[in-house]
Amino acid sequence: MNEVVDRLKNYTPARIGVGRTGTRPLTKEFLSFRIDHAAAVDSVYGEVAPELLESFQLFSVDTCIETKEHYLTRPDQGRLLSEAGEKMIWEKCVKQPQVQVVVSDGLSANAIEENMADVYPALMDSLEANGLSAGTPFFVKGGRVGCMDAIGELLKPDVFVLLIGERPGLVCAHSMSAYMCYRPRAGTRESERMVISNIHRRGTPPVEAAAHIGTILSKMIEQKTSGVGLVM
């Protein structure tokens, strides 16, 4: 019987077959639950180390978010750039690039720290393999997916890639998403955005996810659309 449960457990990282004592969980399981919960909280409240951003030569801009509480309660403010941020982007970035790559902590700073080293260089290879040229990449602190619209209004890229930390769960606190969109602008519909989600060591393989982004972007440029309208 135990062998069967063990085999079934291999199919999922969910908490199944963890046992109990009386009506309560085992101490070991309870502690591991607390640890995972703490890791999720840490991901949300954590910050991406400036050294990591430097190593990828990313400068950092702010959205209209001031504190983490502000970020959690006001998603709309995470979609807008601060005045200083807008100014910095305008000064430092190539205008109207073919591909604009932006990295943001989103809801998991941990996701960026864990996956950047695998995703980012593989993404650059993928752009090269597809003959695409990237503009000036940078980091957005406290960003939401919709911040690509505000950046799109400023820089007017053909296609946009946003690598952003996902809402952490109790199974994984360092999962990243790659959101893509053709010419994001104020008023972009959600159905125009595309995503490869669940990028982490035990989910969608980071290097392979990044390698596929170039293929999707090429199709967007070719068909001049993205999201549900794109023929894959």
Binding site: A117, P121, D125, S126, V195, I196, S197, T204, V207, A211
Partner: protein, 479 residues
């Protein structure tokens, strides 16, 4: 979601019979907008089965290719399959007819007549696995705990494949088959396979060509043969079972919990006991008696016998329906190089005990490629198969690509292509790095999600859905 039907044929040329099937494979491409695309074969259907032909032989064990081609031409016509539609499938030459001369003649014939994507293949290990897939043993292994053996008994050999949780874990072959001793209706022995002589001698069973054998004598041979094989499979080898093995095992045998029988002899196991010697020799061999003896003997061994879905046609169904797989959906392919057939697989271990050591890997790649160049000389492409990767970081990816490109620069300068296959989902990323590093005239093919554990050659077809291409992993072991 895109649906895509692929026509596949299967042809099984055995020691005694030849069968042909046509099947359709449904390739399903999942394009969910939140993850990487995926491609799977979701359905396999038989659309045509031929009758069972006696394998046309010229003299002992040499296949009459002309007669075979007539059968095939008629079958193609009857099944109304057009050659151009055939995208996959396998021809398998088995048992004592699996000789190099036969195989070469047939491969030559098929290259002209049977469709460009059909592969020719042979070998007991692969036949055993295909039969286990065709009989339903592989499917059964997914529903149970423990190990199931599929024993495919034809004319010359019994090919055994062990399955656990849907995977073939072991194969072995015995000289146990219906046509190892051939008889006239009066019991006159017309042929004894030299392969069973040592075993017969060890048991002091004196049967000779030209003599008349009694019912009891023949039954005793069938009984002892069955018991030897079954004792081996259930973990307590007895009765000189080792003398019936065609080759020593590569790894120790694990005892099985269930057994499924397929093949021509298995088909006869359902028939009533042969009463007279004439009845027993109705096919001109000891097959019916062996089948009966096997059924009787199986009761006494601790493995449960499960009924097979297919007996006589198990191998051909396995070959036609189950041998084709698809690669991962995100791969790196230079289509100009495809299709590639009979590509030898060169295995290279990436991580030993989950420890990654770039220098060690570089040495292994270098060694493997040097060997491959010696073995396969000149421009013959080979596929580097990456074994054991727990998680591939970008740093590993770069190091793997560098090591491969470097080894090609040093030892394989004439080669115009690099073929890399692996199990984990990483081929597109690896292909892009390989392409970036290497000279532009060196074409890259990099495929993932391929299980190459039980094969030493691979056929690479054309894309069947999105980027995914049809592949067949096989063995080409001719005796």
């Amino acid at each position: 979601m895109n649906e895509n039907w692929v026509t596949s044929i299967g042809l099984d040329i055995g020691t005694s019979t030849t069968k042909f099937i046509v099947s359709r494979l449904l390739v399903n491409e999942t394009k969910n907008r939140f993850s990487l695309p995926g491609v799977q074969i979701v359905d396999r259907q038989i659309s045509y089965t031929s009758k069972i032909y006696t394998t046309p032989l010229k003299e002992e064990n040499a296949i009459d290719v002309e007669a075979l081609s007539l059968i095939l031409a008629a079958e193609y016509k009857r099944s109304s399959v057009k050659l151009g539609d055939v995208k996959a499938g396998a021809v398998i030459i088995t048992g004592e007819t699996a000789r190099k001369e036969n195989a070469e003649a047939i491969i030559h014939y098929l290259a002209e007549k049977a469709g460009n994507f059909v592969i020719a293949t042979a070998g007991n290990d692969l036949e055993g696995i295909l039969a286990g897939k065709g009989s339903g043993a592989q499917k059964r292994s997914n529903e149970m705990d423990g190990i199931i053996a599929n024993v495919d008994i034809g004319g010359g050999t019994a090919n055994v494949a062990l399955f656990q949780h849907g995977k073939a874990i072991q194969t072995c072959t015995f000289h146990v088959g219906g046509r190892l001793i051939r008889l006239s209706e009066s019991g006159l022995v017309t042929y004894i396979s030299p392969h069973i002589q040592p075993w017969l001698t060890a048991h002091h069973m004196m049967v000779k060509k030209g003599q008349t054998a009694s019912y009891r004598q023949l039954y005793a041979i069938g009984e002892k043969m069955s018991e030897a094989m079954l004792s081996f499979l259930t973990g307590k080898p007895a009765l000189h079972a080792e003398l019936l093995q065609t080759a020593p095992l590569k790894k120790p045998m694990e005892p099985v919990q269930e057994i499924m029988f397929s093949g021509g002899v298995a088909h006869m196991m359902e028939q009533p006991r042969p009463i007279t010697l004439g009845d027993a020799a109705r096919h001109g061999d000891m097959g019916p008696l062996l089948a009966y003896a096997l059924r009787e003997a199986a009761v006494f061994y601790p493995a449960e016998v499960k009924a097979a879905q297919e007996t006589t046609r198990a191998t051909v169904i396995g070959a036609g329906m189950q041998n084709t797989e698809v690669s991962g959906a995100t791969v790196f392919v230079d289509e100009a190089v495809l299709p590639l057939k009979n590509v030898p697989i060169v295995k290279v271990t990436v991580e030993q005990d989950e420890v990654w050591d770039a220098d060690l890997f570089e040495k292994r790649v270098k060694q493997a490629i040097q060997q491959a160049v010696c073995l396969y000389e000149g421009n013959q492409p080979f596929a580097i198969a990456l074994l054991h990767i727990s998680y591939c970081t970008y740093a590993m990816l770069t190091a793997i690509a560098e090591a491969i490109q470097k080894a090609f620069d040093q030892h394989c300068t004439e080669s115009t292509q690099i073929v890399v296959i692996c199990e984990s989902d990483m081929a597109k990323a690896l292909g892009q790095v390989l392409a970036k590093q290497g000279p532009p005239d060196r074409k890259i093919i990099c495929l993932d999600q391929i299980d190459f554990t039980h094969g030493d050659y691979i056929d690479l077809g054309l894309p069947v859905a999105g980027e995914a291409i049809a592949v067949s992993v096989k063995t080409l072991a001719f005796s």
